[in-house]
Every structure is written in structure tokens, then in C-alpha cells.
């Protein structure tokens, strides 16, 4: 648990305290941005292997997330944000399985929270711009086709949902997945280690624990991609809910 609150490396005690988590983020940020800029500036009409992979991911976000929820017209407007979000979350998540970094950039609450707030601001802005402030509140909190007494119950729930629960759930989902993943790897590697050095017949079980650790490691790569997908997908869905004409 202490790993998520590492000691400061620089500027200790100020608001710019720089610790291991930030270092991991900084490395990932630098590597990904430099790589992407290189790929982008060298991108050609006939793609090379690396460019194909990046284009594949962009196409995946475009087709599977944006086109399916927002449609082509609205999708064009939010595509840059969603693709950026996907790439950012994916690369930060994958930091958790890169040896030497071993900690996902999204496994400390700041980053998921800011991403979720970005989503929140985006969908509220989009909704208000489309329906006006009151119109937006009404369209989000008062779904049509329901007898009016229900509204007494429904409006607070929906309001709470729009204002708090959506971004909070986004934050916690991403954070908890990354924290849990990290802890699982720690537990299994720790267990392998402990079993191996325990002496006696328990040593015989240690390979299984080691295999589990490797399995979990592979699973974490999958989870990293999955969480990036879910986060982006939900953002797209929230934007769609805010901008749609009718529910």
C-alpha cells in the first residue's frame, strides 16, 4: 500500500513534490509523446509496421467507440479528445506491466480523477451548448414517458448521477482496477518468493505461484487495454446522452 505513496524525490513538502509515481508518469509521457511525434512526422501514405499499429488503434477508437455511440457527425467533433484519452490511459495503464516502472500511472488517484473531470466538463459543456442550461438539466433528469410523481424520486437521483456519480465512478473504476492489478502481481510474486525460501515441502508449490504471477501479468496487459477502452467508451456514451435529442 505504501507503494502508492512513495517518498518524495524532489521539492519535498511543496505542491510540486515529485515522487516515484510522477517519475513513472513523466517517463511514459516522454517516451509515448516522442514516439508518437516521430511516427506522426514520418507517417507516409504507405504505412510502415509501426505506423500501421498506431493507425489500427486510431481506427479502433474511431470505429468501435466513436462511430458506434456518437455517430459520424458528432463523432468528428469529439474524436480528437477521445482518441487522446484512449492513448493516454492505455499508455499510463501499461506502465504497470513494464519492468522497471511496475506502477501504472493511473494507479494513483490524481490522474483518473482529472481524466474523469475532463469527461464531466466535456459532456456538461456539450449538453449545455446543445440544450441550454435548463434544457440540459431537464433532458438529463426528466426522462419523458414517466408519470409525474416518480419525478420526485427520479430528479434527485438523476441529478446526483449526472453531477457526481458518473465522474466518480469513472475515477474509481480505473483507479481500483489498476491498484488491484498491481496488488495482485505483488501478492503472487511475494508469495512465490516466500514459498521458495520457506524451506520444507512448500518449495514444491512455489512454481505454481510463479506461474500464477506470470498469468496475472498477462491478464494485467489485457486489463490495461480493457480499462482504457471502457473509460473512453463511457465518456463517449455520456457525451452522447448529453447531446442526444431524446432518450
Amino acid at each position: 500500500m505504501g507503494e502508492f505513496f512513495p517518498e518524495a524525490l524532489l521539492f519535498e513538502g511543496t505542491w510540486f513534490e515529485f515522487n516515484r509515481v510522477q517519475l513513472v508518469r513523466l517517463i511514459i509521457l516522454a517516451v509515448v509523446l516522442i514516439a508518437m511525434c516521430l511516427i506522426a512526422s514520418r507517417s507516409k501514405l504507405i504505412p510502415g509496421r509501426v505506423q500501421s499499429v498506431v493507425e489500427l488503434v486510431i481506427d479502433f477508437v474511431n470505429n468501435n467507440i466513436i462511430a458506434n455511440t456518437l455517430g459520424l457527425k458528432d463523432g468528428k467533433r469529439f474524436a480528437p479528445m477521445l482518441i487522446t484519452m484512449f492513448f493516454f490511459i492505455l499508455s499510463m495503464n501499461l506502465a504497470g506491466v513494464i519492468p522497471g516502472l511496475n506502477l501504472a500511472g493511473t494507479s494513483v488517484v490524481g490522474l483518473p480523477l482529472l481524466l474523469a473531470l475532463w469527461t464531466f466538463v466535456t459532456y456538461v459543456t456539450a449538453g449545455v451548448r446543445k440544450h441550454g442550461f435548463l434544457g440540459y438539466l431537464k433532458s438529463e433528469t426528466m426522462p419523458p414517458g414517466i408519470p409525474w410523481p416518480i419525478y420526485i424520486l427520479l430528479i434527485p437521483i438523476e441529478l446526483l448521477q449526472v453531477v457526481v456519480i458518473r465522474w466518480a465512478s469513472l475515477t474509481i473504476r480505473l483507479l481500483a482496477n489498476m491498484v488491484a492489478g498491481h496488488m495482485m502481481i505483488v501478492v503472487f510474486i511475494g508469495m512465490t518468493h516466500a514459498l521458495l525460501f520457506s524451506g520444507g515441502w512448500l518449495i514444491a508449490i512455489s512454481p505454481f505461484a510463479g506461474a500464477m504471477a506470470i498469468g496475472i501479468y498477462g491478464f494485467e496487459i489485457f486489463v490495461a487495454a480493457l480499462q482504457a477502452f471502457i473509460f473512453t467508451m463511457l465518456t463517449a456514451v455520456y457525451i452522447q446522452l448529453a447531446t442526444s435529442d431524446e432518450h
Binding site: F5, W15, E17, M36, A40, S43, M81, L111
Partner: protein, 181 residues
């Protein structure tokens, strides 16, 4: 063991409470990432993607156009071929007719020629026969008179008389001949 110690050191709820420095750095990283991505990387990638899509579309359209042209050319060629075949058939038919005509002409000319030759031959033949008969008449006369004078002796040397005899004999001969014919 490790976890238990860690649990003791940091309570779990602190995971959800962001520290100020955490927010500050996260914000800096997020903004840098988003700016670079949205201002440089994505437009560039999208431009390339769009360009490619356009190129592929253009290529497809180009291919379609060429295909169309090829179809047109083939059709034209086929038409020309058919026309040529027809023309050839016409020429063949005409030449056959011409040949027939030539053969007919030649045949009729040969017929008339052979007719002509035949009549000429006949005419010549009859002329020669007349000439021969005239000549014969003279020779036969003299031969007969010579013979007769040899038989009768000198009596028939008198020309006047001998000619009368001969003429009578010949007339008889001719009348005899016409009677037997």
C-alpha cells in the same frame, strides 16, 4: 506480511484522496499530453489517413474509368470485326458472281466461236466440193474421151463430136447420180 505492514502504515481510504502535488503533476502531464496529441499527432495522422482514403478512392475511380474505356474499345473492336466479316462475305459473294459471269461469258464466246468456225468450215467444204466437182467434171470428160478414143480408135478425135458425146454422158451421169441420191 508486506501488505499488513503497509496497511498499518497507510490507511486504505487515502487511496481515494488526491494530494495537491498529485493533482498538480497529473494536470501538467495531462495537459502536455493532450496538447501535443491534439495539436500535432492526431491532425498529422488524420491527414495521412484521409489522404490515403482519398487516394484509394481515386484509384478505384480511375480503375473504373479505364475498365469502362476498355469495354468501349472491345465493343468497338467487335463491331469492326463484325463489319469486316460482313464485308469479306460480300466480297466473296461478289467475286463468286463475277467468276460465274466470266465463265458464262467465256462459254458463250466459245460457243459462238465454235459456231463461226463450224460454218466457215462448212462453207469452205462446200466451196471446195464445188471446185472439185467442176475440176473433176473437166478431167473426167477428157479421161473418158481419151478412153473412148482408145476404145473406138481415131473416130472420136473430132472435137465437136466428142464434146457432145461427153456432155451427154455427163448429163446422164448427173441425172443418174441425182436419181440414186
Amino acid at each position: 506480511m508486506i501488505l499488513a505492514e503497509a496497511e498499518g502504515a497507510v490507511p486504505g481510504w487515502r487511496l481515494l484522496i488526491p494530494l495537491p502535488q498529485e493533482i498538480v503533476w497529473s494536470l501538467i502531464f495531462l495537459v502536455i499530453f493532450a496538447l501535443v496529441f491534439m495539436k500535432f499527432v492526431l491532425p498529422r495522422m488524420n491527414a495521412v489517413l484521409d489522404e490515403r482514403a482519398e487516394k484509394i478512392e481515386g484509384g478505384i475511380r480511375h480503375a473504373e474509368k479505364i475498365q469502362e474505356q476498355a469495354d468501349q474499345l472491345r465493343e468497338q473492336q467487335e463491331q469492326e470485326l463484325a463489319a469486316a466479316r460482313q464485308e469479306a462475305a460480300g466480297i466473296r459473294e461478289k467475286s463468286r458472281q463475277d467468276g460465274q459471269q466470266i465463265v458464262d461469258q467465256a462459254k458463250s464466246r466459245a460457243e459462238s466461236e465454235s459456231d463461226r468456225v463450224l460454218t466457215a468450215g462448212r462453207q469452205q467444204l462446200s466451196a471446195e466440193r464445188i471446185a472439185a466437182s467442176t475440176e473433176l467434171r473437166g478431167e473426167v470428160g477428157s479421161l473418158a474421151s481419151d478412153l473412148a478414143s482408145k476404145i473406138v480408135g481415131e473416130s472420136l478425135t473430132d472435137d465437136e463430136r466428142s464434146r457432145r458425146v461427153i456432155d451427154r454422158f455427163l448429163d446422164d451421169l448427173e441425172s443418174n447420180q441425182s436419181a440414186t441420191r
